[in-house]
Amino acid sequence: MTLAPAVPQLARFRARCEEVTGTALDAPGALHAFSVDRPELFWRTLLDWTELPWSGSADTVLTGTDVETARFFPDLRLNYAEVLLRPLDDAGDDAPALTAVHADRPAEHWTRGELRDAVARTVTALRRLGLAAGDRVVLIAANTGETAVVALAVAAIGAAVSTAAPDMGAASLLGRFAQVEPALLVLDRRAVPDDVVGEVVAGLPTLRRVLLIDDRPLPELDLPVDRLADAAAGAEPTTEWPRHAFDTPLFVMFSSGTTGPPKAMVHGVGGTVLEHVKEHRLHVDLGPGDTLYFHTTTAWMMWNWQLSALATGAAVVVYDGPVAGPETLWQLAADHRVTVFGTSPAYLQLCQDAGHRPAEAGDLSRLRAVLSTGAVLHDWQFDWVAETVGPVPVQSVSGGTDIIGCFVLGAPDVPVRRGRCQTRSLGLDVAAVDEDGTEVVGQVGELVCRRPFPSRPVGFLRDPDGSRFHAAYFADHPGMWTHGDLIEFDPDGSSRLHGRSDGVLNIDGLRIGPSEIYTVLRQLPEVADAMAVEQRDDGRPGGTRMVLLVVLRPGARLDGGLDRTIRRTLRREASAAHVPSLVVAVGELPLTHNGKRSERAARDAVNGDPIANAVALRNPGCLDEIRRAVAEAAAVPAAPDEDDGLPGRVARIWCEVLGVRSAAPDDDWSDLGGTSRQVLSLLRRVRLELDADVPVQRFAEDPTPAGLARAAEAALTAAPAGVAVLRAGEGRPVFLVPDAWGQLNLYAGLVDRLATTRPVLGLRLPLRDAAGRHRTIEEVAADALEQVRGAQPEGPHTLLGYSFGGLVAYDVATRLRAAGEDVGCLGLLDVRPPRAALSRWETERVRWAGRRATLRGALQAALHRLTGPRRPAAPVAAPAAPDPELRFFLGTQEVSEAYRPGRFDGPVDYFLAEGSRAAARRTLGAWRRRVGELRVVEVPGYHGDLDDERIGMLSDRHVGTLAAEVSAALD
């Protein structure tokens, strides 16, 4: 069932605009062009069409054309609470308005009438306690129903409210709220520790009174303290909703930049209302019958944004609990019949990585749109929503606290293109511009807004002459609002964000102000200066990582020790998120002619991009050095190289577990800060990746990389062939058959994500005999059969194998069937049939392609093994003499091709890598002829092992989908 009106509100509004202008506005982009070319007509039409309650005069729409100074509707008056709570045609007093969901207690519900009544009583109570128009209120509380009631009551009076999430420390709270100079502090101590309360009250000298939302005992303070519930209990609901001038302060919000204290920006009631109602009704199509949940805290502008949705007649759900896992928010959406669900790329990625399938876990049939903001939403996340949530549009929206709204967002009449925001916000003249302020299309530029818009902040607090406000938004491109984001528009109006253009880093969706990094680094005498920049991470498409450029004092050298000290100091004094992926020493940092540091130029250099602002630099020469130094540092093995054999591999795992960059053979585990608890994860990695089972006690005897390597060596030599428990569980095991190298580590991601409570066992099979000859598939399978029977005497058996392992699994399955046993599930992961199994015609067709692939693949795979999966193979020349690894691989290939699979009368689940589709067309017949039923499931990615430059089906990127498909196929 769909609750969205058959005709989107946007279409009805467009018809109204066509009536007003007498022009057709149905061409793509025509409505937006009208909205920015004729702003007075657009905003006046919007005001009338939305039927907002207002008084005064709307005759003057706009007082000028300068985006910095022009004002909207100087004679118009309205009341935020009245706009949100008034009875509507299709949303009367009995219609649902607000649902407050909690992790630890049942949800509370308010109808529109009940909510208006609660707000009206609170207004009376607050007035009685002395709150008046023009005052400012600080509200520190979680995202609950009471929080919304208080904010609406404050707004109704004509006072401004500033909200903060309760998890901030006292220092952060005071850094913000001291600027607000509040008259009243409203607190919910269910979420704020008592010592924070005391400190905050002491730090806000303008306070006249403290009001408590919770019902715990009143604290001892030097100020009058009241309980909100007591104050509102006997209060008559007010009937007065005085309307306030358009620019009357409504919300005070904060934005942190690269320098200085957070900026306290004031948003006016009129701009906020117009922008929100426009976005909600025209872009999101919210209205009566809808239920909106947008995951946010009270510290983020999405809180204000979602609250305003009440003005459309939609119901709003708020939640103050934690996100305990991937299921939390989807469960909430299902339980409360949410129609429009808003979240962040980080949460969607968490769900995807965990293999969560929301539509299977709960009833999301009412859901009609998924919104995402906060960071770039990647192409594959659109696919993931389509696959696991359903055929709903995914709207990636972006804007900011600074405009309390969105610059680019969704639209009901425009198709969604994966990886892109659908459209520009109506009435906002948004563009990407180059350094000169010239619009660019199809390339990345600075996000600007060129004409006045109503939700521009009224100004900053503590900025009497507006100079900070000017410097923040209007200094870079005169006459334009410069937002600090990089964006790229297509001619169709869709867009993609490309991170921050100022120094603020956005590392995988987490915003990090670099000033904190610089403050911490000041304690290190070796570091003279530093600059943190964001770099695209080639290893993870769409991912970013932090590169720290450091200028060292004379005599200092960036060796392993200093590198480690820098990372550990940042981790300790700031947080793990502040630790860079790469530390690079450079001679100079790029400076502009004015002596300003240019993070943007450094970032272009670090990414190997053309330098956009080279002419603006005093020392452009330093960029070549930066580019070179970063390339070298990235190429030089950051972690020990796998070329070093076992010690190198051990050292790499060691470094990754401890988060250090290098390891000397004699480094002591506990000297580096390793805990005994971490020992267990270290040894787990060694077991999984090196297949060496090192006992804890053995490690404890010599806790160094060298000692661990020796222990691993001993474990490998002694390793008896046999079954390895890859994941513990209950019931019949799922058997995994090793790959062409005899290893199980490539299954690590799959093992983690298989949705089953059954144990996952890996077979350990010798692939060569004592003489070093490769054993045939049949010989290997005989061993495998013995191990399978040893671990599970009776069927039905479940067997999975990738590539070579699939051939062995197939042979084991045919033997089990021949012995009259049940095979519950035989899963072949992209198992190309051996040459010996192909018909002459098939052989003919694949001969040339096949040979090329084998040779190229074998060589690449060998290089891949030698150089490690994360580094490009380029610097290593093709081995002149056949190296042992290549020889081993070719030997396995040979026995694979010689295998003649018998008949298997059961069904086979065949997981076909997308990248193998073309080859499979020619060869899958060989399997179909032999098996009872071949059920082919296509999964993303390439075969993997042979095509190492392309992303394999078992890679981190794709293994989630594979695991979900395999889990679904398990018997």
Binding site: G325, A346, D671, R677, L726
Partner: protein, 233 residues
């Protein structure tokens, strides 16, 4: 827009509030030691250490160095109060296994543990003790794979709501390690051999009496103790 609401907090670990010494079990005093100090405080603490203790501290990275100095100095101070002597004069030694040791005549036993910016020192009078402190880390299925939790414990953890698992795992670990440290073997014994159960507080395990040690949110600590005359091994 501003940082995503679900993004992890990037604020540093909050400085732990100092917790005065408390009696967790009969004859055992546990003191919580915040591992934060400026240069001057660190220098003062270093002055309390014996030369070999200082040398060991200096082998560590800066954070490890600070932790070792502050913990050892705290341990010496607590023992000094117990023995009525100067911290420098406490006859504290380190066994080859790394365990703090005192002459038998003192009838005192000591233990310490640290995690992140928090440390613990414990002193047992006429009791052999082991103490372990662990920051609560997110639960991942990898933990099940590390092999130290018994199948029954894993089942119990699987039955817990996801939000309760991190603390349960940290509790299970600290209970184990407290026992191993009381035995004096540490990880020279396989932690898998000590099954301490999930969701239990206190109680006997392998002959040791276990106690929950109150520590600030974000950490879990456990104490294992047994009177000298019946020290199990």
């Amino acid at each position: 827009m501003a940082a995503g609401a679900t993004a992890a907090s990037i604020a540093g670990m909050p400085p732990p509030a100092p917790v005065p010494a408390c009696t967790v079990a009969p004859g055992v005093t546990v003191t919580v030691v915040p591992l934060v100090a400026d240069d001057e405080e660190l220098a003062r603490a270093e002055a309390l250490l014996a030369p070999e203790e200082l040398a060991r501290a200096r082998r560590g990275t800066p954070a490890v160095h600070r932790r070792r100095v502050l913990l050892r100095a705290a341990l010496r101070s607590v023992l000094a109060a117990e023995l009525g002597t100067d911290p420098r004069g406490v006859p504290l030694r380190t066994a080859p296994t790394g365990r703090p040791e005192l002459p038998a005549a003192t009838r005192l036993d000591a233990g310490c543990s640290a995690g992140g910016l928090l440390g613990l020192v414990a002193v047992g009078r006429g009791r052999r003790i082991g103490v372990d402190l662990e920051p609560v880390a997110p639960w991942t299925p990898d933990v099940a794979d590390e092999g130290w939790l018994h199948a029954t414990e894993l089942r119990a953890i699987a039955l817990l709501p996801p939000g309760a698992r991190p603390v349960a795992v940290a509790r299970a670990w600290t209970r184990r390690e407290a026992v191993l440290k009381a035995r004096g073997t540490g990880l020279r014994d396989d932690p898998a051999t000590v099954v301490t159960g999930v969701g239990r507080t206190g109680g006997p395990v392998a002959g040791w009496t276990l106690h929950d040690v109150p520590v600030p949110d974000g950490w879990v600590a456990s104490l294992a103790a047994a009177p000298d005359e019946e020290t199990p091994r």
